[in-house]
Amino acid sequence: MNKKISALSLAASLALVGGALTGCASGSAPADSSGQSVSTTAAAAAEQNMPAISVADAWVKATESDNDMSGLFGKIENSSDQERTIVKATSDSAGMVQLHTTVPTPNGGSVMKEKEGGFPVPAGGSIAFEPGANHVMLMDLKSTLKAGDIVKVTLTMDDGSTSTVEAPVKAFSGAKESYAPTGDSSTDH
């Protein structure tokens, strides 16, 4: 299990700069072509009928069993004119959800660890959640995440607002590499 965590952090990174097809946010939560929809409870956004934080191109890595871990990836967009920080993530599919980042180690590896303080998303800007980089880690899965399933993840912002993304589960073998960095604390998170 620990190996898988570190492997995920080492997986090649994705450039998710493509279309806003998946997980495009909307207060009225219409399903898009991949079946994702997003709702938000952001008070400020509700006033404008627009979510401040949304997740585009969201996807979740499929797992072999419920003992595995998984990650949520995508492009986090902030449509408001104020910086927002993602401070928490939750999911009905996982017993434990953490915001993870990776940091390089002196020996050339990288370590995944919980991101303290969360992820700031600049006003009008976006940040990427990618394999091998920042992401939402899903642990203590309630069940095996099978390709084609939909996983809901709710992000909570520093202002208390939330945004829920429905992400398709996709087979992704990159995170199966069993690379265990030595001399680091990749198992501590």
Partner: protein, 444 residues
Amino acid sequence: MTDDQHTADPAADAPRRGTDRRSLLRGGLLAAAGAAAGAGFGLAGGAAFSSQGGGAGGAVPDAVGASPSAAPVGSADVPGGRGSVASGSLGTATIAVSEAGRQAGVHTPPGAHAIYRAYNVKKGMGAQRIKGWLRLLSDDISRLMRGTEVLADVEPELGEAPASLTITLGLGRGLVRAVGATPPRWLAPLPAYKIDRLDARWGEADMVLQLTCDDPLTLAHADRVLQRESAPFGEVAWVQEGFRHARGARPDGTTMRNLFGQVDGTSNPVPGTPDFDQLVWRTGAGAFGQGGTSLVLRRIAMNLDTWDEVDRSARENSMGRTLKDGGPVTGGAERDEPDFEAKRGLVTVIPDFAHVRRSRTGNDAERIYRRGFNYADPGASGHDRAGLLFASFQADPMKQFHPIQARLAQMDLLNEWTVPVGSAVFWIPPAASEGGFLGEGLFT
């Protein structure tokens, strides 16, 4: 291809907007209307190998102006590495995903290269899993055809130049049943014809993905992405690869030649015309109605060795068309109608056994739209090392394909050098609706 044909495109009047990448989606379709119809071998009666691709060269600039419906799903954001793709040329050409609710890859110009990859649903996959598969594929297909990144693709740069990529999803009766729906009677193996020497390895399957593209590397990437996506759900049943003239080697719209050297596809119905629409698209209500069609994919081995023994005039007589330009042996240019009554002495110039005569049943409704590809495996030996991936689209295979094939099986001189070794029928569902997915009609 003429300007007239361009305007025959049903979407040609679509409102113009923007000059972003989405605009270029129109490129391929404009050229689609130039698809040539054809004679040629196989089922010539109203069948054809149509034009070479679309949206290339000069076609792209006037393609600017996408209809909003051309991009129902997905955005057409330009990937970061787009600078590596030549603009305004073959590489950037894209083809609209869902013109009038129809999947690309039927009425759109065929790419130079094709892959048909068939799957059978893995055991234990219920309707819900299959639905998930179709959703994932629909998203991938939409993105790949636009040249935008597929989710979780670690090598998206390989897909930056769509090069008129089309990906068409077809479903067999096995998948239809697996989700609890009832397949129409025509969605089944064709009747056995006496000329057939079918190999089960090219036979019926639960799903087919038809990929055509002008860039073989883009094509390989798209095929790989879809394989990765499909791995949890299906086993590969077979793969068939084909090709036509390379884009740019002949004017766009030139009718393809097959490996016998024949101009193949002259008398095809022309995409964008009422004739084409009536012959190809299904109508009516229900999952198998409006916007769908059917694909018949026959693998026809061509015996190049025995064909070598035939002299040029005999070759032309077997077809009823000249080898030089595909015009009727009774005179005229490629598109001119053959004179079936013309006589030389006491016998007709076009022999009774000629393909161009045999492939016409005399019933205008018994015609099909051919969109095939050559295949050749230079390293192979045996009878199936070269031939034709005979792909035809028609509203109803039994009412349209079958009468022609039955007539050809009875008598057609070309049977002397050709043998069908594979045969499969698929339903081509309508394009995904906005927010929907391919094959969604099966679940409602």
